[in-house]
Amino acid sequence: MSERGQISVAACGLIVLLVLAGVLIGFLGGIDQSGAGVQRAADMAALAAGRALAEDPSASAADLRRAAADTASENGARLVAFSEVGSPAPEAVEVRVASAVAGQAGDVRAGARAAVSYSATLPTATFRPVDLHGLGGRAAVVAAAAAQVGWPYVWGGESRAEGGFDCSGLVDYAFDAAGMPLPGRPTAATLWSLAQAISPVELERGDLVFLGASSGAPYHVGIYVGEGTVLSAPHTGAQVGYSPLASGGWDGFGRLMPPEPGLRSDPVEQATRAAGVPPHIIAAELALGLTHEARSAAQSLASAMASHPESLADAVTAQIGDRSRAALVLRWASGPALAMDSAVRLVPTDPDSSAVGTRVPSVPPPSAGGRRAASGSSLLGHLGTALDAGERVAEQLGERGRAVPLQAVGAIEHLSRFGLTGFGAVLPDPDWRDAANLTGSVWDATTASADLARTASTAGLELAGIGLWAARFSALGGALSAGLFGVQAYRARRTRDRIGYGMMAAGSLVTTAGLATAGGSLIALGATTSVVPPVGLGLMAVGAGLCAGGYLVRHPEWCRRAVDAGGAALDLAWRAETAPVRAATSAGGAVADRVRSLASSIPTPW
C-alpha cells in the first residue's frame, strides 16, 4: 500500500475509533439515564404511599395505591403493581412502575419498597388516654377506669406528673373520659354525697362502692365492674387494680348513673381482669390481628408489665417484640390523643418476591455522603467518570432485573447499526460498500416496521439516552445522504444508476422527514427524551425500503443471483425432502433386480 493509502486508512481508523468511543459513552449514559428515571419514579411512588400510611395507619389500600399512582405519574411513569407488606398491620408498601411510554428497548420497569416504622410515648403529665370506640354510659366509665390498671397510687394525685392518682381521682377521670364530667375535683366524701345510696344487691357495673360510709364521710371509693369485682386505686405503694367486692369491707354503695340492667363484661375484660392488665391494650392487639386469644395475650402482657412497671409502652413492646407494632397497638387503644411519630425509609425489595426490578441501594446514610460525583476536568477526572459509569452500569445489571439488560440490548442494537455503517465506509470495493449499505437499509426498514407495529396504539416510540442520540445522528446523516445521492443521481451516466441513486435520495429524505416528526426535542441538546409518532415510524420504514430498492436497482445482478440462489435452495430443499423416497425407490429396485437375478439362476427341470 502507498504512503497515502496508509495515512488515509490510519486516519479513518482513528476517527472510527473515536466515534465508537463516543457512542460507547452514550451507551453507558443511556443505560444510566433511562433506568434511573424509572427507578426514581418507583422510589417516589413508594415513599408517597409510605408517607400516607405513616400519617394514617388505618388508611385503605386503595388510598395508598392512589397516592403511589399519582406520584409515579408525576415522575413520568405509571404504576403497574402495588402491595402492602406485613400482616395483619401493614409495615411497608411495595410498588412496581413502568415507563409511561413504551421505550425503544421495551417496557422499562423498576420496583421500590418503603418501610414505615412508628413510635409512641404515653404522656407523662396526663392520664392514660383511651379510645372508647363508641362505648357509652356505664360501659364507657368502666373501660376508661380499666385502662388505668397498673398505675401507681399516690394520695391526692390525679396525673402521672404527680405520680399517679388516688381513688377519687380515678373515678373523676373515668366519668370525665366517658363524657359525664363530675363537678369540681370530687373527693370520696363528695362522691358519696352526690350518689344515690343503693343496697349491695342492686349493684351494677359502673356503680360506686365506699369505705367509711357508715361515718357519713367515706375515705375511700372504688368502681364496681361486675361479677363481684371492684376496680380501685387502693393505697400508697399499690397500683390501680381489681379486688373482690366481698373482701374489701365496702360499707356504702352509690349510683351516679341511671341503671342499665343486664350489662355484663365481655370475654376480653374477663381475661384481662384475671391477669390484672388494662383491657384496651388486649382489645387493640385482637383488633390489629396481633393475637387471636385474649387470655394468653393478657398473661404475657402481665408478665411484661411486671418487668416494666414504670412504662406501659415498654411493657407492650416487650410483649410484642416490636416497637413499631407496639406503637400501633397503643395508638389503637389510646386514640388520636396519643401522639405518634413515624419514619418512612426506602428498603431493599424482597429478593424472593416476583418484583421485576429491585431498588438500587442508592441512598447512603447522610453521614456517609453520596456516591462520589466525579469532579474536576482533568483526564483523570474523565477516566474516573467512565469508571464510575461502568460501575453504575454493572451495579444496575446486577441489581435491576431485566430492565437494564433490555436497555443494553437496545443500545447494542444502535451500536451495531452504526458499526455496520462504519464497516461499509472502509470497505475497498464499491460493490461491497453497496452490499453493506443495502444490509443497513433492510435493517432500518425492519426495525422501523417492528417499532411501528409495537407502538401503533400508543403515543409513539420514546427515545432516550443513546437511542435519542442515534436518532439525532441518523437525521443528520439522512439529510447529508439525500444531498449526496441527489448529486450522484444527477451525475450518473447509466439510467439504472440514475434511478437507483434517485430512489436512495428520496428514501433518505423520507427517513429524515420521519425522524423530524419527533419535533424540536430531537434537535434540542438539553432534551432527554423525544417521541417519534407512528406516522414518523411509517415514513422511516418507507424511506429505508426505498433506499434498499435503490441499491437493488443499481445491482440487478444481485437480484438475478438471489433468484438463482433461491432456485438452487428450492432444488436442494426438494432433493432433501424427497431423498428418503428416492432412496427407498432405489433400494426397492435393487432388491427386485436381485430377486430377478436369483430367480433366473435357478435351473429348470424342463
Binding site: 459513552i25 439515564q33 425509609r345
Partner: protein, 97 residues
C-alpha cells in the same frame, strides 16, 4: 506535487480533523458525565428529602440542589463547556405530597 508531499498535506489535514473529533469526544464525555452526576444526585437528594432527612453537604459540593415546593431540581455544571454547548445538565424529581 509528489506523492510524498501530497501525503504530508493529507497528514496535516487528518491531524486537524482528528483533533476536532477528539475535542468533540471529550466534550461529549463531559456532558455525559455531568448528566450521570445530575441524575445520581437527584435520586439521592429526592429520596433523602422525601424521607424527611437533610441532604448532606457532600451531595451539594458539586451541584446546585434547589427545592421549589414539591419540585427538586439538581443542576451539575459541565466541565469546560465549549461555546454553544450546554453549560449544565439538569435532573428533576417531583417529591411525594
Amino acid at each position: 506535487m509528489s506523492e510524498r508531499g501530497q501525503a504530508s498535506v493529507e497528514l496535516v489535514a487528518c491531524a486537524a480533523l482528528l483533533a476536532l473529533v477528539a475535542v468533540a469526544a471529550l466534550q461529549w464525555l463531559a456532558v455525559v458525565r455531568a448528566h450521570i452526576a445530575a441524575e445520581r444526585l437527584a435520586d439521592q437528594a429526592a429520596v433523602l428529602t422525601a424521607e424527611g432527612r437533610t441532604v448532606p453537604a457532600s451531595l451539594r459540593a458539586d451541584a446546585t440542589i434547589v427545592r421549589d415546593g414539591r419540585r427538586l431540581t439538581v443542576r451539575v455544571p459541565v466541565a469546560a463547556a465549549l461555546p454553544g454547548m450546554p453549560r449544565e445538565q439538569t435532573a428533576t424529581a417531583l417529591l411525594p405530597r
